[in-house]
C-alpha cells in the first residue's frame, strides 16, 4: 500500500517537475529521448496556478458575500445587485468592494436563518458534481483502452483491496483540479466565518475531504464501467460525463459571476431542507456552524471520508471478484456483418471516410469538439446577454461572433490533425501521397465543421433581422466564413508544429502553448472583422492568409522529420522570417520616432500637452535606426542558424551557382514603368479626388530646417529603397519563393508591402511591389529592386513637389 502510494506520488512528481531535473542533467541528452521543451511552460503554469488561485479567492469572496445577503423569495426587501448592503444588513458591509477577503465577523446571523448555509451547501454540491463528472469524462483515458494499467498491478502479490485503496489514495491527494476549485471557496467561507489564519489548514482539510469522497466515488464508477460495460459504452458514458460536467462547471461559473444570484437559485436555496448540509459533499459547511466544535466536526468528516473510501474499495473489490476483465468486455463491439465487399459512397472514401468514422465512433472526442463549443457559447450568452443585442445593432459584431464560433469549433479538431493519428502515423507514411495532401483533406473536413457552425450563426442572425443592408450582410458573412477557412489551416499548421508525437500520453502530445497562440491569432482576425475601416479589414485578411501560408511552409519543412526524433530540416529563409522582420521593423521605427518626439519636447513644457509633430529629419533617423537594427539583427540570426550561402540567398551577392543577371540594366528598365505608374496615379488623384477619401494618412510632418529637402531625398531615394527592399524582397519574397510559384510569391510579397502603407497609396505601392519582385526574380539580385524603388521614389517626390 505504501509502496503503491509512493509510486503514484513519484509519477506525479516526475510528470510535473521535469524541468528541475533537466537542469542538472546537463546538455548531453540521451539518444532517442524526445526533447521536452516544457520547462518554461511549467514555470509559466505555476505562475498561472498562483494567479488562478488568487482569482478564485477573489471570485469566491464576491460570491460568498452575496450569498450572505440572500433573502427568502417572500421577503419584501429586494436584494441589491452589487452585493452591497440590504436594508437589514449591518452597516459593516459598506466597504465590501474594497477588501480582498470578507470581514472575519462576516456572519451576522445564525447560519441557518438566511440562505447562507443552504446556498453554500448547494454550491458545494454543484462543485462536487462538476469535479466528479469532468474527472470521469476526461482524466482517465485509460478507461477507453483495452489495456488497463491495473491489469499490470494485479500481477503483484497484493490483494485487490490494497490496490484499490492505493488508487483511492492517489485520486484523493493528487487532484489538482480540486485544489484550484474547492480550496479558494472553502478558504473564503472559513475566513468569513471568523477562523482567521486557521482558515488555511481548515480549507486544506476540507479540500482533501471533498477530494477523498470524490475519489471513492470515482474509483467505484471507473471499476464498474470497466467491468460491466463494453469499451464503446464506456466511451459513451465518458462523453455524457464530459458534457454534463461542463454544464455543471458553467452553472457554477454562472452563479459566481452573475451580478446577483438568479431567481431560480434563490428559490432552490429556500426550497431545499436544512439537512442538505449533512449530504457528504456539503459536510464542511457544518464547520461554519457557530458554536460547533471544530475538532469533533473534523473527526466526523475524517471518519465519514474513510468509511466512504473503505466502502468504495470493498465495492470495487466485489466487482472484480469474477476476474478483472470480463470476457465480453472489449470484444462486444464486433460487427459480424462487416465484410470487404460492402459498398461505400464515394465521398466516404480515403482519409475523409476514415476521419468521419473515427470521429463518430469516438464519442468522447465528438462531444468535446461539437457539443462543448455549443455549451460554452450558450453559457457565454447567459452571462453576457448583451452580446446578441450588440450583434443586432451592427452586423460586424454578428460576423465577429460567427467567426469566433467557427474558429472555436475548428480549434480542437484542427489542432489535432496530426496528434490524433498518434502511433498510427506510420501508416500514412506508407501511402504514395504527400503527407501534406492527406493533412489538407483533414483540414478541409474541419473547415467544413467550422463553416457549418459559423454559417448557422450567420443564418440565425440574418433571420433575426435588424435592418442590415444586403451589402453589410454579404461582406460580414464573407469575412467570417473566409476567416474560418484560414483559421482551420492555421490551427492545423500550429497543431503539426506543436506536436510531440513521441509523448506517451495522448494529452501530452499537443503543446498547450499552441492553443493559446491560436486563440491569440484568432482574436487578431476578430479585430479585423470588427474594425470599421475597410482598409483594416483587407489588411488583416491579407496578413492572416499570409500567416497561414507561412505556417504551412514550416509544416512542409517539418513533415519529413516528424517521426525522426533527432534530425530537423536544414536551415533556410522562411516566409515567417519576412513577416516577423517587417513587424519588428515597424515596431522599432515607431518606438524610435516616439522617443525622439518626446526628447525634442521643449523642457518645462506641460506633460499633458500634445507632442510636437515629427520632423522629416527625425523620421529619416528613426527609419535608418530601425532598418539597421532589424536587418542587422536578422543577418546575425541567419548567420547563427548557419544558413548556407546567406548573401546569395538574400540576393545581396553572387553565389557559386547563382550569378546575377544584369541587375543594373534591368533595374533601370523596370524603374521606368514603375515611375510611370507613380506619376499616372498622382494624375489620377488630382482628377479624381474621391480617391483621397480612401483614408489618406499623410504623416503630419512638422516644420523643418532648410535642409528638409535633403533629408526627404535621403529618406526616399536611399534609406527607404535599401531597407524596404531588403526586408520585403530580400527576406520575404525569398522566403515565399522557396515554396511557392513565382506568380504567388510576387503577388503575396507585393500585397504585404502594400498593406503596410496608407490605404491611399495601396494601388501604386502594390504595383511597385510587383515590379521589384519581378526584378529580383529575373536578376537574382536585390540591388535591381533597390534601383527600381529609388527611381520610383525620386520620380514621385519630384512630381509631387
Amino acid at each position: 500500500m505504501t509502496i503503491l502510494a509512493g509510486v503514484a506520488l513519484r509519477r506525479f512528481a516526475n510528470r510535473h517537475s521535469g524541468f528541475l531535473r533537466r537542469r542538472r542533467r546537463g546538455p548531453q541528452e540521451p539518444r532517442g529521448a524526445t526533447p521536452d521543451k516544457g520547462s518554461r511552460v511549467n514555470l509559466a503554469l505555476m505562475a498561472f496556478g498562483a494567479l488562478f488561485m488568487l482569482q478564485g479567492v477573489v471570485m469566491a469572496t464576491r460570491y460568498v458575500e452575496r450569498l450572505g445577503t440572500l433573502e427568502p423569495p417572500g421577503a419584501t426587501t429586494a436584494v441589491t445587485t452589487n452585493g452591497g448592503p440590504t436594508a437589514e444588513a449591518p452597516t459593516r458591509h459598506d466597504h465590501s468592494d474594497e477588501r480582498l477577503l470578507p470581514d472575519p465577523r462576516f456572519w451576522p446571523y445564525p447560519l441557518g436563518e438566511r440562505g447562507m448555509r443552504r446556498g453554500l451547501s448547494l454550491t458545494f454540491v454543484v462543485l462536487f458534481v462538476a469535479l466528479l463528472l469532468t474527472t470521469l469524462g476526461n482524466a482517465n483515458q485509460d478507461l477507453g483502452k483495452v489495456d488497463w494499467t491495473t491489469e499490470w498491478l494485479f500481477s503483484f502479490p497484493a490483494t485487490a483491496r490494497t490496490l484499490f485503496a492505493a488508487k483511492t489514495f492517489e485520486y484523493a491527494f493528487l487532484n489538482p483540479f480540486a485544489y484550484f476549485s474547492v480550496l479558494p471557496m472553502a478558504f473564503v467561507a472559513l475566513w468569513g466565518a471568523g477562523f482567521g489564519w486557521n482558515a488555511i489548514p481548515l480549507a486544506l482539510a476540507t479540500t482533501v475531504y471533498i477530494s477523498a469522497i470524490q475519489a471513492a466515488l470515482r474509483l467505484y464508477c471507473e471499476t464498474w464501467l470497466r467491468v460491466r460495460c463494453s469499451l464503446s459504452a464506456t466511451k459513451n458514458v465518458q462523453a455524457a460525463c464530459t458534457a454534463l460536467g461542463i454544464i455543471a462547471f458553467y452553472t457554477l461559473l454562472y452563479l459566481v459571476l452573475a451580478d446577483a444570484p438568479p431567481d431560480w437559485f434563490r428559490a432552490t436555496v429556500f426550497a431545499v431542507p436544512d439537512a442538505i448540509a449533512f449530504v457528504p459533499p456539503c459536510a464542511p459547511v457544518l464547520l461554519l456552524q457557530s458554536g460547533a466544535s471544530v475538532g469533533y466536526t473534523l473527526l466526523a468528516l475524517a471518519v465519514l471520508a474513510v468509511a466512504l473510501g473503505a466502502l468504495a474499495v470493498q465495492g470495487a473489490a466485489e466487482l472484480v471478484r469474477g476476474g478483472l476483465v470480463p470476457a465480453s468486455g472489449p470484444y462486444a463491439s464486433r460487427d459480424r456483418h462487416a465484410a470487404l465487399g460492402e459498398p461505400r459512397p464515394r465521398w466516404l472514401r480515403g482519409v475523409l471516410g476514415k476521419e468521419l468514422r473515427l470521429f463518430v465512433r469516438d464519442r468522447n472526442f465528438l462531444v468535446q469538439t461539437t457539443v462543448v463549443p455549443l455549451l460554452v457559447i450558450g453559457f457565454q450568452m447567459m452571462l453576457n446577454p448583451q452580446w446578441l443585442d450588440a450583434a443586432g445593432g451592427n452586423f460586424d459584431h454578428g460576423a465577429t461572433i460567427a467567426f469566433g464560433i467557427g474558429a472555436y469549433a475548428v480549434l480542437s479538431g484542427g489542432l489535432s490533425v496530426i496528434t490524433n493519428e498518434g502511433q498510427t502515423l506510420w501508416l500514412l507514411y506508407t501511402f504514395p501521397h504527400r503527407i501534406e495532401e492527406i493533412l489538407r483533406r483533414k483540414v478541409a473536413l474541419w473547415a467544413g465543421v467550422g463553416l457549418t457552425y459559423a454559417g448557422a450563426v450567420l443564418l440565425l442572425l440574418t433571420l433575426r433581422g435588424g435592418g442590415h443592408s444586403g451589402w453589410a450582410l454579404l461582406s460580414g458573412s464573407i469575412l467570417a466564413l473566409v476567416g474560418v477557412v484560414i483559421y482551420a489551416s492555421i490551427a492545423a499548421g500550429l497543431g503539426v508544429l506543436g506536436a510531440r508525437l513521441h509523448a506517451q500520453r495522448v494529452q501530452r502530445r499537443m503543446r498547450q502553448s499552441s492553443v493559446y497562440l491560436y486563440l491569440m491569432l484568432a482574436s487578431l482576425y476578430s479585430y479585423g472583422i470588427y474594425a470599421s475601416a475597410w482598409s483594416s479589414k483587407i489588411a488583416i485578411v491579407v496578413l492572416c492568409t499570409l500567416l497561414a501560408c507561412a505556417i504551412w511552409q514550416k509544416v512542409h519543412d517539418q513533415i519529413p522529420f516528424l517521426l525522426d526524433p533527432n534530425d530537423a530540416p536544414p536551415p533556410s529563409i522562411s516566409s515567417s522570417d519576412g513577416l516577423i522582420a517587417a513587424l519588428v521593423f515597424f515596431v522599432v521605427r515607431g518606438l524610435t520616432a516616439g522617443a525622439m518626439q518626446i526628447a525634442s519636447r521643449p523642457s518645462g513644457a506641460d506633460k499633458s500637452a500634445a507632442l510636437p509633430s515629427l520632423t522629416i529629419s527625425q523620421l529619416t533617423i528613426a527609419f535608418v535606426i530601425a532598418g539597421v537594427v532589424t536587418l542587422g539583427g536578422y543577418l546575425a540570426y541567419f548567420a547563427a542558424r548557419r544558413i548556407p550561402n546567406l548573401m546569395a540567398a538574400l540576393g545581396l551577392a553572387e553565389g557559386a551557382d547563382q550569378r546575377f543577371r544584369a541587375p543594373i540594366p534591368y533595374g533601370i528598365a523596370l524603374g521606368l514603368p514603375a515611375a510611370a505608374l507613380g506619376i499616372g496615379y498622382l494624375q489620377l488623384l488630382e482628377h479624381w479626388p474621391a480617391l483621397q477619401g480612401l483614408g489618406a494618412e499623410s504623416p503630419l510632418l512638422g516644420a523643418d530646417g532648410p535642409n528638409a529637402r535633403w533629408w526627404m531625398a535621403g529618406l526616399a531615394v536611399v534609406a527607404a529603397p535599401l531597407v524596404e527592399e531588403l526586408l520585403f524582397r530580400g527576406i520575404l519574397f525569398r522566403g515565399l519563393r522557396r515554396s511557392f510559384r513565382a506568380v504567388w510569391a510576387v503577388l503575396a510579397s507585393a500585397a504585404v508591402f502594400a498593406i503596410v502603407h496608407p490605404p491611399v497609396s495601396w494601388i501604386p505601392v502594390f504595383g511597385l511591389g510587383v515590379i521589384t519582385a519581378l526584378a529580383v526574380e529575373r536578376t537574382r539580385s536585390v540591388w535591381s529592386a533597390v534601383l527600381v524603388h529609388a527611381i520610383y521614389n525620386a520620380t514621385v517626390i519630384t512630381a509631387a513637389s
Binding site: 539518444r31 483502452k145 472489449p330 470487404l340 473515427l358 507514411y429 504514395p432
Partner: protein, 259 residues
C-alpha cells in the same frame, strides 16, 4: 536507373555521437528473399525506417526502383509494402475498414484489392476478426492485418521488420509460404530478424548487422563456406560478429592482425 530493386550505398544514421547505422551497402534484386540479421540494437529497425523515408539518412543513399527513399518518399511507396515491428492501427476502425482504407489510399480498384486481400485473409485465418475494432486485436492479429495491407497492391518490394514476432506457429508457417510465393512471383522480400533458423530455411542472401556495421553480406552458402565451413547459420553469425568486433575494439595497427 539501377537494375536492383533495392540499392543501399554507404547508408548511415548518427544520433549525435552515436552511430546507429554506419555506412552499410547492399543490393536486393527481384525474386530475392533477403534477411537482415542482427542482435537487438544492431540498427535493423533504423535501416528499415530509412528505407521507408521516415528517417533522413545522415549520409549515403538508399534507392528503391531507382527512386531516392527520402527525397521521393511518396513515389517510392507505390512500389513498396511495409510491415513494421509493432503495427498500430486506428483503434475504432474495423479490420475490414482498415484494409479498405489502405486500398483507397493506394488508389486501387476495389475488386482488385478485395481479391488480393480476400485470399490472404483466408490463408491467415483473419476472417473472424474482420468485423472487430482494431483496438481489440492481439499483437499477432495486428501483424497479420499489416501484412495484408502491405501486400494488397502487389508491391515490387516487401519490407518487413521482425515479421514473425507475435505470430503463432501456424501463422508463422503461412507467413513463410506467402513470402516464398511473393519471391516466386518476382517480388523482392527484405526482412529483418534475429531468428537465425527461420532465415536459414527461407533465405538465399543475408546480411549481418552488428553495432550498426555490416559484418557480412552475400549468399548464405558462400558466407557459410567462408566463415564457418562446418557449422550452421548460428556459427556464421557469431563468427561474423566476432570479426566485426575485433577491429573496432583494437587499435588501428592491430586491426590487420586480427583480420
Amino acid at each position: 536507373m539501377s537494375e536492383h530493386i533495392l540499392q543501399i550505398d554507404h547508408l548511415a544514421k548518427t544520433y549525435g555521437e552515436f552511430r546507429a547505422v554506419d555506412a552499410i551497402s547492399l543490393q536486393v534484386e527481384a525474386n530475392d528473399l533477403f534477411a537482415l540479421l542482427g542482435p537487438n540494437g544492431a540498427g535493423k529497425t533504423t535501416t528499415i525506417r530509412m528505407l521507408m523515408g521516415i528517417l533522413q539518412p545522415s549520409a549515403g543513399t538508399a534507392r528503391i526502383c531507382g527512386l531516392d527513399c527520402f527525397g521521393q518518399r511518396a513515389e517510392v511507396q507505390r512500389h513498396v509494402g511495409y510491415v513494421p515491428d509493432e503495427p498500430v492501427f486506428y483503434d475504432y476502425l474495423r479490420g475490414a475498414e482498415i484494409i479498405r482504407f489502405v486500398g483507397e489510399m493506394r488508389g486501387l480498384r476495389r475488386a482488385d484489392a478485395d481479391r488480393v486481400a480476400g485470399e490472404l485473409i483466408d490463408r491467415l485465418e483473419l476472417d473472424d476478426a474482420l468485423g472487430e475494432f482494431a483496438v481489440n486485436y492481439s499483437k499477432g492479429m495486428k501483424k497479420k492485418l499489416a501484412l495484408i495491407c502491405a501486400l494488397v497492391h502487389e508491391p515490387a518490394l516487401l519490407i518487413l521488420d521482425e515479421p514473425s514476432s507475435g505470430l503463432d506457429p501456424f501463422a508463422t508457417r503461412t507467413l513463410q509460404e506467402v513470402l516464398r510465393e511473393c519471391a516466386g512471383r518476382g517480388t523482392a522480400v527484405f526482412y529483418s530478424t534475429h531468428l537465425l533458423d527461420q532465415a536459414e530455411r527461407l533465405c538465399r542472401n543475408i546480411a549481418i548487422l552488428h553495432k550498426g556495421r555490416l559484418a557480412a553480406s552475400g549468399p548464405l552458402a558462400e558466407l557459410r563456406a567462408e566463415l564457418a565451413p562446418s557449422g550452421s547459420l548460428e556459427d556464421v553469425f557469431f563468427e561474423a560478429a566476432a570479426r566485426e568486433t575485433e577491429p573496432a575494439d583494437a587499435p588501428p595497427n592491430g586491426a590487420d592482425d586480427g583480420a
